[in-house]
Subunit: 239 residues, 2 copies
């Protein structure tokens, strides 16, 4: 069992994976608008709703940004990489060294929105799942296929053996501008954090490096915005 | 005079607009890595650096996410819309009802990165500038041309009279998929908040509506990611 929080995130998971819910806890300070809609949705889906104080929710979730709603959710399964690679897939997002839970969640949200088949990450090299991540992901943390591995560099090789090409989002002398880049049919898109970037070992194993052409003075978008742009460009090409 | 905060934001503004600095205040808890680099940069640019406690900086900035650095900056000029429209421009981002300062900052950052000529907003209908916005914008709040008006709907008409077409990012029956959309040569791109959207009066005045095609269950990106995608698509077309 684990926790997710926030009105939008809980609503999305209720809509698409109601069987995962154990119960919803709410402080219901003013049950109006989106809040009462969420309680009605719980009733409709036969999810038990219990009352708890705002502070109790904060303690449970480890954050006060729960918007008076925390849900207890059955643990999801992580897919083993070898099982995932037995199936036919075309787009996977690899998160390397994304330690900021807001960015981590935003990246899962983009991956879900743009129809990526899975996201892969290492909890040793970045954020792990948490209520903050679930909220920032708008529930995508519960809806997207997730693969959690010990060693991302090894995973890159396994993807390559399965016919994927690894595309690292980074600026190096070999990098191609996104506007001239043609994504491989089976793309493992690798993104790193703003501070740490992508591990050198993973950079070396990548088949391609791609950058987003910038025209201003500030030379980089944040990783969540950059990744949304890259995923859009992939989907626009593969249509 | 106003304040900006955060290592990255202060560094960017120091690099591109050092004349705007009055002084930098730092708590310097451990002046290593990027922190000592920033102090060295201040020395090089002849910017006075003063020491203050971490808590004093928090009180000044109204936020504890200053990373031990707050800078006093000379107020920027806001450009009057009529003066802006006398010049030749092609891409302007309009922020409608963006109340979240993190999103507001992220949008300014995207606008700057993708070479938008200006961002226009109404402080009555969204966030105003603040140290939190400056940090989230990575300094773009100080580097990008900003236009602040009382009435955004009227501003849309003024842009249209000057030859711009207004493109609203929204889902309505007339909206076109971004993958099929051709941006007008002079584009006023209008984005709204996730909760509030774009004001109906502004939606009505828009020449075009465009949406980003989604393939997952969650039907929308956050506004910062969506806007980065839209701005990229504009620059990719106009190349």
């Amino acid at each position: 069992m684990h926790l997710i929080m926030g009105i939008h995130a809980i609503t999305e998971v209720l809509l698409y994976a109601p069987h995962r819910f154990i119960r919803v806890l709410t402080a219901m300070p003013k049950a109006e608008g989106r809040k009462s809609e969420l309680i009605e949705l719980c009733m409709k889906k036969n999810i038990p709703v219990a009352i708890a104080s705002f502070d109790a929710l904060t303690k449970m979730a480890g954050s006060d940004s729960h918007q008076s709603f925390v849900a207890e959710i059955k643990d999801r399964e992580f897919l083993a990489l070898k099982d995932f690679l037995l199936q036919e897939h075309s787009l996977v997002l690899m998160l390397d060294q994304i330690f900021d839970p807001q960015n981590f969640g935003a990246l899962l949200r983009s991956a879900e929105c743009f129809g990526a088949d899975a996201a892969i990450f290492s909890k040793n090299r970045g954020s792990d799942l948490s209520p903050v991540v679930a909220k920032a992901s708008c529930g995508a943390s519960e809806l997207l296929t997730l693969i959690r591995v010990a060693n991302l560099a090894e995973a890159v090789s396994q993807f390559q053996e399965a016919g994927f090409e690894a595309v690292a989002a980074l600026l190096n002398p070999q990098a191609k501008s996104l506007s001239q880049f043609h994504f491989p049919q089976k793309t493992l898109l690798i993104v790193g954090s703003e501070g740490e970037g992508i591990q050198p070992l993973i950079q070396k194993r990548a088949n391609h490096a791609v950058y987003i052409p910038m025209q201003g003075k500030i030379q980089s978008l944040n990783v969540a915005q950059a990744t949304a742009t890259l995923l859009y460009a992939y989907t626009a090409q593969k249509g």
